[in-house]
Symmetry: D2
Subunit: 265 residues, 4 copies
């Protein structure tokens, strides 16, 4: 946190302040999206990640990356494996997600076949190398579950953005687990005041859209009729005032329930 | 090229000039690394690329990317295959490269096994989907050779940087082929004057290091003794003035041969 | 919007959809921070801006810039001037802002001196050039109010981020006016569905922090006691339950009033 | 340099090597543009720079910046001043540069007027503040020579790119002096092996274009006729084989003279 403290010095006419006030300043900066001070802190991770997961990770462009080269070296002899009870079912509501787990029998079959496929793929890779094939080409059929390693260097602002997106419940489980550990185990210890502010003002905050604000305001005014009229106008309700299949309406109802409220329809 | 012409207007006191002069200006800008005008041109590619190759591509961070999502959709049912005569051998000199091809018998075996592995991997993927496994997890053991698709949007300056690195003989064959086609078939037609300048001042230029300049100057002065002394000083030659195993010396000798010259040792 | 439509094709299994559905998709993408499709649209502005304002503008790094060069050309002979009634007073609450206007007499003096200073600075600049001084050095004492010109090229996602920050009431008036015109006059016409979604889900949305959610939930449950206890715990209230000087509390009360509610203390 | 050493471990199968070999690896990486290891080193500068110079500095986008805010605080009461003998004349050949100095009489006048203008500008600024004008507006007519301060954080790769461009003889004197000190006084001590490689392979290297290579090859083959024919073809010489006014020809002749050679025309 040395850096933020120096930033603070900047912002507060270079007067020495107490930790208590630093915490207040950090929270203020976070709340008001003053992001440049957080760019002043830099961290470097050494990660081992399945290539499938790394494909998502690397989409975050504002970072420095040095990845293990399988052109130069033999590929890491390890792949991410799935236990019998860990096979997730396709979510029906969310085309991008999973929900629930496969049954025991299916899980057993799936895990066995996974093991067979991974073993075969590695054997073929090793055989190619033994036959003198170039590493850069031999690797071409390795499964996406094969581990890669990288140094990943990033500033605190961009790291928090990564964590915000990847700790989210919509992020894929695999990368979410990395994000949660990086956040709760590492950043939380490295910059406790920043982490706390990040949880309070980003992760555990709620966002109300213009439409949601209008309905909620009608509700807090006790004007149920207006709330329903708005719901119709927003295409959330049919002409009879009954809920339509509408994702935005469901999102709003979730937020209401977080506030201990029920929809007026 | 509309944009560069507008830039030119900027740089030349907004006086209308002829194409001949535009070409001269473009060449001047390229030669002197005035890169901002080239950032003003933007192009968007729609590419289909094996994931293995895409892993290299995506390392170029200054671009906009929208990739086909295999969380949302079923993975593309196509993988990059290798013909019997296309299996490349590991280079001995260059740990990162390939050199020459495997023999016919080996090639036949390798291609057959590749086909077997790719087919099996796809069957297992399809089976997972049929058993209801989430797409985001089912894909985990697809081979790296599986195709992905993406929109890749980039400005001309960063595209030329990409092409410079990926058209290079040290780039892996697979991505080099993409780069060559993007350069020679697309950019050459889109911005002919820029492309010509890029070839003259980047691709087909030569770079002489401080050490190489010193030896070459000794050579052009006819001072063979000094050239050899420098070679010893740079650790390119042993005390007897004989070539040592030294990559930098080999690189220099290559450059000399491009100039029709021979090393003085 | 061609590009977003092509993206949509991507995301919806390449099935042709109607404009109505495009609008729905665009709103979904905006609401859920799926930003890559918006990066696929690119726009280029030609702007004339006082250097003082440009200093803030240029802090947005993800853009391509080609600025008028005052090394190469004579500086633009125009500076931003302030009318008598436009002189803004320092805000007392907000160290970074302004509030209210100077009186007529002061305004008259200030505008006269501004004109005198700007005229003198230009005369000295012109005199330096006449004496043969290099343009790159002669410009050194031009006032920050001197206009510069630039091409500024940016993708739609980063443009919206720029507009979100610079249309905000905390942004300085000068750059805010540029942002408002770029947004309401240009983007609104270029991409009407995106602009509408941006207003609904970003500009006119409200953000409730974890702390605010807790107090609001207590309020909606009718548990005034708990709301006050939380206020004390958050240091918003003193032990007697009375409001303390606390910026976060004031921010919350503003949000309550947007919802037609009053603080329970 | 810890990081590069760890990178090396990566690249060399994690075998412990001696400093001698580290130096060799660093030089290899620099020579072959393997830039990612250099991105792993990060440095933060605290700089005080005239705003005029900062306008050039900030154009390097891949860096983290935290600048002293003159909305929040009173502007630094210091401007860059020019001694009587430091006034540079406009270069005739290079529209962007300066060459030689103004005479003593002119220098004296120029410096006196500079002092007068800077003093007046500051008085007007102070007066505005005293009249209660907001800092964000009061600053609008400060001269570009006014100092600003910033934390500037950058990785080693991007820093070297900055230094390459700004230590160049075509860079403006003011920023060149900063670059030279950052390079020769700071980076040289921080990463001596990297700095040495940077000087040998970038700063003191020479670049020969395709055209230059062709003429030089003709020269080294003793084929003066061909060299002259090429010169005509490239528009460097007129039909009589005499030098035309051509910047590219002059650049080539400079390079020849660095090699101790004379043009064959």
């Amino acid at each position: 946190m040395n850096q933020l403290f120096r930033q603070r010095a900047f912002l507060t006419a270079r007067v020495q302040k107490k930790v208590h006030e630093d915490r207040g300043l950090i929270r203020y900066l976070m709340r008001h999206h003053h992001t440049t001070p957080f760019e002043m802190c830099e961290i470097k991770f050494h990660v081992r990640v399945p290539m499938d997961c790394w494909r998502q990770w690397i989409r975050h462009r504002t970072a420095n990356v040095n990845e293990y080269s399988t052109r130069y070296s033999v590929a890491i002899d390890s792949a991410q494996t799935t236990a019998e009870q860990e096979w997730r079912l396709q979510a029906s509501g969310n085309r991008q997600g999973s929900a629930g787990f496969a049954g025991d029998t299916d899980g057993k079959t799936l895990t066995e076949k996974e093991r067979y496929l991974q073993t075969l793929a590695r054997e073929i890779y090793d055989e190619r190398l033994k036959m003198g094939i170039a590493r850069e080409q031999a690797r071409k059929d390795l499964p996406l579950s094969t581990y890669t390693e990288a140094y990943w260097k990033v500033d605190l602002h961009n790291l928090l953005h990564f964590l915000y997106l990847r700790m989210d419940s919509h992020a894929q489980y695999e990368i979410r687990r990395y994000a949660e550990i990086m956040g709760h185990e590492i950043v939380a210890k490295w910059c406790p005041a920043v982490w706390e502010a990040f949880l309070d003002y980003r992760v555990n905050s709620s966002h109300l859209t213009r439409l949601e604000m209008e309905v909620l305001t009608a509700m807090t005014q006790g004007d149920k009729e207006k709330a329903v009229a708005l719901g119709k106008q927003f295409n959330w309700l049919n002409d009879a005032g009954e809920p339509k299949k509408n994702r935005e309406r469901l999102e709003f109802e979730d937020k209401l329930s977080n506030l201990g409220l029920k929809a007026p329809w």
